[in-house]
């Protein structure tokens, strides 16, 4: 009885899902397998800069000089609109700055505070224990100043996108003129998808998910940031590479420590597993004869 019911129920579910399949197949035959959208035709996957990054791979280490340059790019360019709210200023010491330098750096920011005498809202110079202050007092102010597009917080950007480090680099260097830029099929956006051409206040970038974003190209000329002596030329590509490295650090300051902790753990486990295997074979030696044919 139970098997009869089971077979009927099974055939019921099968009929229902095959009915859905038939509907889908009919649509696929009559209307094709999904439209070719502008996103499908133009969207590009992020790619790494030439030479990659020092922190990539299982033995990767931070290049502190690069992180300092990246921080400089963030501070002089990105920080105008983007917050870094999960990152504490004291953590800059990890980039190789001294305690005194970090104190001075913190004091260069004005953070919201309360006047100790009147209790009124005011600002005070930052302390190393503060997090990086936001450029806008609140979301409404951020939206109002940016044509309703709130600049996202950058603390975790490198982890919040697929292949985030490369995404930041590719996005910063990937702006193009949609009237001229050609995709792999040799089309321009203006020809193939005129409806997707960026509207007012939007900028075409094939690395952005829906191709048009509100942020104007932030790095637009070589030498926009002046690097200290002994550093590479601040080309747009160099600045993009440096700031994407810096934002990888802000997204996970413990990344290098994590990888460095991993090796001894894996080494110990390998050793322990070999011992465990030998113990296992030793204990079973008397019990497990070779299988008789």
């Amino acid at each position: 009885m139970i098997r009869l019911i089971s077979i009927l129920v099974g055939l019921g579910f099968t009929a229902a899902v095959l009915w859905a399949f038939g509907n889908g197949a009919y649509t696929a035959v009559t209307e094709g397998m999904g439209e070719r959208t502008a996103e499908k035709a133009f969207h590009l996957h992020p790619h790494a800069p030439e030479g990659g990054y020092s922190f990539e791979g299982p033995f990767g280490k931070w290049d502190k000089q690069q992180l300092q340059r990246g921080y400089q790019v963030y501070k002089e360019v990105c920080a105008a609109c983007h917050s870094l709210k999960f990152v504490a200023i004291r953590d800059l010491e990890q980039l190789g700055y001294s305690e005194a330098e970090v104190k001075a750096e913190a004091a260069s920011f004005q953070v919201p505070g309360i006047d100790p005498n009147t209790g009124e809202a005011t600002t005070r110079p930052g302390l190393p224990t503060d997090n990086f202050p936001s450029p806008y007092p609140n979301k409404i102010a951020a939206a109002a100043a940016n044509n309703n597009a709130i600049p996202p917080d950058l603390s975790l950007m490198a982890k919040a996108r697929h292949n985030g480090t490369h995404y930041i680099y590719s996005l910063l260097t990937g702006y193009a003129d949609p009237a001229v830029y050609k995709n792999e099929a040799g089309e321009t956006l203006a020809e193939a998808f005129p409806a997707t051409m960026p509207g007012t206040g939007l900028h075409f970038n094939p690395y952005f998910a829906n191709l048009n974003l509100a942020m104007a190209p932030p790095l637009n000329s070589d030498g926009q940031v002046t690097y200290a002596e002994g550093n590479p030329e601040p080309t747009v590509h160099q600045m993009a590479e440096d700031v994407s490295a810096f934002l990888t650090w802000t997204a996970e300051p413990t990344m290098v420590k994590r990888k460095q902790t991993g090796w001894p753990v894996l080494g110990f486990l390998l050793f322990a597993s070999i011992l465990a295997f030998l113990a296992y074979k030793n204990i079973w030696a008397g019990v497990k004869p070779k299988k008789a044919g």
Binding site: R3, S6, A16, V17, L156, A251, R258, L266, S273, K291
Partner: protein
């Protein structure tokens, strides 16, 4: 119950004797997972996963309790406290990655444990109760994992919660009030986050309780084995300790290497980048996907894209998704074969390897893919097979199949002769 030749616990010194009289806990452990539990001598590596699942349950509880010390279940600050754990708490990043990947590995070993059960028909009499309790554990794990994924309050947390609780909205008449009642509001917010945290802390201990019942029920008939032939004599078994403790120790080492390789080198590989974006009810992610271990059932849910007579497509999908797991409860009575092990069931074995396993693989793959063609059509075919396999093929094949001859005993299977 145990086999008559099981070793008896003997307290080794005065203190243990005293203890044995007042509270025979050492005796209990000795009989449960010590030398007092005789186990078939022919278990293969597929029999490691029960112990491994127990290990990951304990790991999840320990890391989870530590995380809860630093986390705050409040929609305003939950995302920030998660980042506080990652940045400011000593070794907090390790605890969180160990917990997130621990959930994944818990599911990996549980899926292997369940599919071991399918292939060797571990659900068959006299082990039905072990199986039923196991399915209960799996359902509790799914609920716990789902609620745990909501806690960091990222975009996938929020939208996953919205989609999954939205499923209850498909139930006719009571659906929408039920959904609002479950969430404590019209959309996931502080009320939902708080109750999910409360239940996420509670359910693991419920799982521990059901695991104890699961192991208790296991010790009545004793462990199954790859031949499916019951234990008959002392030479069929070895004491659990030291034989299987040693083997499980090695298995644990291998799994831990894979686990810590993920924790230390690819900790976010199994997660979704969108969950590093703070929850925003006004911005829907392009593709809402649950964690990977829900993908087969998510694929089944989304496979029902057309209304079936008077049943709306969404309701049909919800029914099918729950039925896909509930059907496991009935396996002991749907499989009529007198033989347990898939080794001796040639037709069943073909359906297992060339039907069920590819269908599950397709469902895993399509459940994580966007809801567009060809993934929808592929998951529809796989879903059809999934239900046919358990509800139609298994009852029929198990009744008509001609099975291969079984060895007379486990000893014969191992040694070639019965004594």
């Amino acid at each position: 119950m145990s086999f008559p030749w099981a070793r008896q616990y003997e307290p080794q010194n005065g203190f243990m004797k005293w203890m044995d009289e007042k509270l025979p806990l050492p005796r209990f452990v000795y009989n449960a997972v010590g030398a007092g539990y005789p186990v078939p001598r022919n278990l293969n590596y597929m029999w490691n996963f029960g112990v491994l699942a127990g290990f990951f349950l304990m790991l999840q509880i320990v890391t989870g309790i530590i995380l809860a010390m630093h986390y705050a279940a409040n929609a305003e600050v939950a995302f920030g406290t998660t980042e506080h754990i990652m940045r400011d708490v000593n070794w907090g990043w390790l605890m969180r990655y160990a917990h997130a990947n621990g959930a994944s590995f818990f599911f990996i070993v549980i899926y292997l444990h369940i599919f071991r059960g399918f292939y060797f028909s571990s659900y068959k009499a006299p082990r039905e109760m072990i199986w039923l309790l196991g399915v209960v554990i799996f359902l509790l794990m799914m609920a716990t994992a789902f609620m745990g994924y909501v806690l960091p309050w990222g975009q996938m947390s929020f939208w996953g919660a919205k989609v999954i609780t939205g499923l209850f909205g498909a139930i006719p008449l009571v659906g929408e009030p039920l959904q609002v009642w479950l969430l404590g509001g019209f959309a996931p917010d502080n009320a939902a986050l708080n109750r999910f945290f409360s239940l996420h802390y509670l359910l693991p201990f419920v799982i521990v309780a059901v695991v104890i019942l699961h192991i208790w029920a296991l010790h009545i008939p004793g462990s199954s084995n790859p031949t499916g032939v019951e234990v008959k004599q002392e030479s069929d078994t070895v004491p659990f300790h030291p034989y299987y403790t040693a083997k499980d120790g090695f298995g644990l080492g291998v799994v831990l290497i894979a686990y810590f390789a993920m924790v230390f080198f690819l900790p976010n590989y199994l997660g979704h980048p969108d969950n590093y974006i703070e929850a925003n009810p006004l911005s829907t992610p392009a593709h809402i996907v649950p964690e990977w271990y829900f993908w087969p059932f998510y694929a089944i849910l989304r496979a029902f894209t057309a209304d079936f007579f008077f049943i709306p497509a969404k309701l049909m999908g919800v029914l099918a998704m729950f039925a896909a797991i509930l059907v496991w409860f009935f396996l002991p009575w749907l499989d009529k074969s007198p033989v347990r092990s898939g080794h001796y069931r040639p037709t069943f074995k073909k359906f297992f390897w060339f039907g069920l396993i590819p269908a599950m693989a397709v469902l895993f793959w399509c459940g994580g893919a966007p809801a567009e063609e060809p993934y929808v059509m592929l998951s529809q075919i796989a879903t059809a097979y999934y239900f046919l396999h358990f509800l139609v093929i298994l009852p029929i094949v198990s009744s008509v199949e001609k099975t291969k001859p079984l060895p007379n005993s486990i000893t014969e299977a191992v040694l070639g002769s019965d004594n």
